[in-house]
Amino acid sequence: MPSRVAARRGTGTDNAVRIKSLLIRVRPVSYRVLAYAAMIAVSLVLILPLLWLFAASLKTPQLVGATPRGIGEFFAALVPTDPHFENYVEALTKRPFGLWTRNTSIVVVAATVGTLLTGSMAAYAFARLRFRGKRFLFTTTLSTLMLPFIVTMVPQFLMFAKVPGPSSAGNWTDTLWPLILPHWFGGGAFFIFLMRQFFMTIPVELDEAARMDGAGFFRCYWQITLPLSGPVLATVTIFSFISNWNEFLAPLIYLASRQNQTLALGLQSFRGEFSTDYHLLMAASATMTVPVLLVFFFMQRYFLRGFVMSGLAGR
């Protein structure tokens, strides 16, 4: 079945486009209204946690901890009647959020760039090139995902703690390096595997055509594959951004002093032994989700259909 589909690729493009535009025009309006209604309903359900987060961030501590009695109270809880905006002031000014934002941004940007570059290089080799030891290396790559991080974390931490480095203690701990460096060495098996899977869906004839024109393997990678991989590069960027932005365990283990902390770590300082300042925690959390949502919102233009097609058209 797949081969039949593939064989048809690239035929009848012009006719199809014309017919399709015709189809869209005659589609009944009610269908579209229905689609919107359904999607809005799904949106409301899925956006609930964020609504609740924002609502909780505007309440007094007593109200956040209380269990809503009945479904009415549950939804009423989403609309705070007496919003306490001062929660935000308290959450954001009493701690060095500016410094923490700076540290977090450095890590996020450096790690993401490293992952995009070195990860896509490895993924391209796995997807397109033939070399000895490829199967073994790929299996090893995947298998690194299978050992829980909390186990490899300790030996890795000890390595950074024992090897001489730039920190005041003469090692690498309490610096941002352990949070960045690993991302410049492939960025992890998850992203390599993800990109490999995508590169494999890109028609191989494109590479072949380019090579006939005299392009080397590096040019094929840089000028054919990467430009055609907008959706997956955007996905990697979003995932890398979010995971580094929210990463908690690694900063916890590596960073010690207050001025070197990241946002996710600082956020946890609202959690106490017996009680949590939920209103402040939520206010800080809400603030922290804004950049992530913005990145997502603006990165998704790389998901636009036709990105891949434009590459095909230029063949």
Partner: protein, 509 residues
């Protein structure tokens, strides 16, 4: 090394001026003393000396170290030092004296101190900041670098740091987890430091609070912020439900398991669908901490011997205590179900959804609530409760045990202990403070009966903690949950016995 008592501080400039004047006066005295030849020499020398290094050096040091200075003496020294060049014999003697005044300045150092709360935190943070400031003023050569990590991950962080040899010099540690850390070799033994510190009266501590910090016969920490399990009740709710004030019941000797159940039944109200609108109390302690309290009240226990013991909760007194607590949920339905208990108990007490809760005897967060504190009821065997302090300890690999100890001693001094109650809202662990504590908390933290708090601590017991505490806890908790859901207590606890005994087997050897 203790500094001499400070009488009066003198600015450096003032002192210089005095020494100049004094210098002149002394030379005049010398002139009176005789030999004209010397006099001339001395006078010219004085002029020089005042400007030159030696004098200034002495003066500077005196000022910096805030040593009380008798001005005339200094001046004499100065002058005699000047005279040195003329009369050799005097010289030697005086130089020695000068050396006595000079004290080697202690090396500047940085001490890392960690807990699980940030300095911005109301109560705990304020207290900690205050004592860091006091410490740094008292020991100006020490800079304290404060670090904090959230409680949930605090001990993990400390462990990995200890493994890398970079653990904080002084650290707070949860009392329950501490013996394991000590056994692993993470802490520095402090018995010597305590013995040599004359001002720190260790005998003043409630004995059993120290027991948690003793491992293999040595002392490894001092009980830090601690608390005791007590009853906090919403007076308004009790009044509405027609329940007599708990403290009045207690005073009349009528606060026991029967009246406790009656009170809970009166408080609990349900709507037509059977949903609880108001619930008697929060989770009745079907966990390692709470179950100790019920077992003791019934004459039972978890283990029969501190540390070395065997599991005995499956004996009649223990089983009955577990059933009593479980029945409050599964039969009488007057205590919060796990779902109800999940929220913030203090908030639910405040808004009147719970009539009473078992919580910490003094808890700073209950400020402004219409609540009071009471002793837990007397059970068939005794009226007692759980008393649970944490620990301040020193890292095994610290380079500065003395300075580290000073930081602990200061925070847990009589004043520091009392300040913990006043600022943090935790209970005192020093006997001499138990009654003072009552005064301090009166009217604060919603406490109308402060004497009850002292009583709770005196009647409270710490439970036997070994390095296997967490294994035992993780074994017991699921079983208690099964019993709460309706399983037979005797059967389940009998099944549990070999599991717990197996965990403790290494202790018995």
């Amino acid at each position: 090394m203790k500094m001499p008592f400070k009488k009066r501080s003198i600015g450096r400039r003032t002192l210089l001026r005095y020494s100049v004047a004094g210098g002149a006066a002394a030379s005049f005295a010398a002139a009176l003393g005789g030999c004209g030849e010397t006099q001339v020499v001395t006078e010219t020398k004085i002029q020089e000396v005042v400007k030159e290094v030696p004098v200034q050096k002495v003066v500077t040091k005196i000022v910096k170290e805030e040593v009380p200075v008798e001005i005339e003496k200094v001046v004499t020294k100065t002058v005699k030092e000047v005279v040195v060049e003329v009369q050799e014999k005097v010289v030697t003697k005086v130089v020695e004296k000068v050396v006595e005044v000079e004290k080697p300045k202690p090396q500047a150092l940085t001490l890392v101190f960690s807990t699980w709360w940030p300095l911005e935190m109301v109560g705990h943070g304020v207290y900690t900041q205050k004592y860091i400031d006091v410490y740094q003023a008292k020991y100006p050569h020490v800079t304290i670098e404060y670090r904090n990590w959230p409680f949930g991950e605090y001990h993990t962080k400390l462990l990995t740091q200890a493994a890398a040899g970079t653990a904080p010099d002084v650290f707070a540690y949860s009392g329950i987890f501490f013996p394991k850390f000590v056994k692993a070799g993470g802490a520095y033994p402090i018995d010597e430091l305590v013995r040599t510190d004359a001002e720190f009266e260790i005998e003043d501590f409630v004995e059993q609070s120290l027991r948690l910090s003793v491992v293999d016969g040595r002392l490894w920490g001092i009980p830090h912020i601690g608390n005791a399990w007590a009853v906090l009740y919403n007076q308004q709710v009790l009044e509405e439900a027609g329940v007599e004030d708990i403290n009045e019941m207690d005073a009349a000797g009528r606060w026991n398991w029967e009246t406790h159940l009656e009170a809970l039944q009166k408080i609990t109200t349900r709507d037509d669908a059977g949903k609880a609108e108001r619930i008697g109390m929060n989770d009745p302690g079907l966990n390692v901490l709470g179950i100790h309290s019920w077992a003791w009240q019934n004459g039972g226990n978890l283990l029969n011997q501190p540390g070395l013991g065997e599991f005995v909760l499956n004996e009649p007194a223990g089983v009955a205590a577990v059933e009593w607590a479980a029945d409050l949920v599964r039969n009488h339905q007057v205590a919060a179900s796990p779902a109800d208990a999940f929220g913030n108990s203090y908030a639910e007490l405040n808004n009147g959804r719970f009539g009473l809760i078992y919580g910490w005897a003094i808890y700073s967060r209950v400020k402004g609530f219409p609540v009071d504190v009471a002793h837990p009821p007397s059970g068939p065997a005794a009226q007692t409760t759980v008393f649970h302090p944490n620990t301040l300890g020193i890292a095994a690999k610290t380079k500065f045990p003395e300075e580290s100890w000073n930081l602990i001693a200061l925070q847990l001094s009589k004043q520091g202990d009392l300040d913990q109650t006043k600022i943090m809202g935790v209970i005192s662990r020093r006997k001499s403070n138990l009654l003072k504590m009552a005064e301090v908390v009166k009217g604060q933290f919603g406490i109308g009966h402060p004497e009850v708090v002292a009583q709770v601590i005196e009647n409270g017991r710490t439970f036997d903690v070994t390095e296997f505490q967490q294994e035992i806890g993780n074994a017991i908790t699921p079983v208690l949950q099964q019993i709460r859901e309706g399983d037979d207590a005797q059967t389940k606890l009998d099944e549990l016995k070999p599991v717990v005994d197996d965990i403790l087997a290494p202790r018995r050897g």
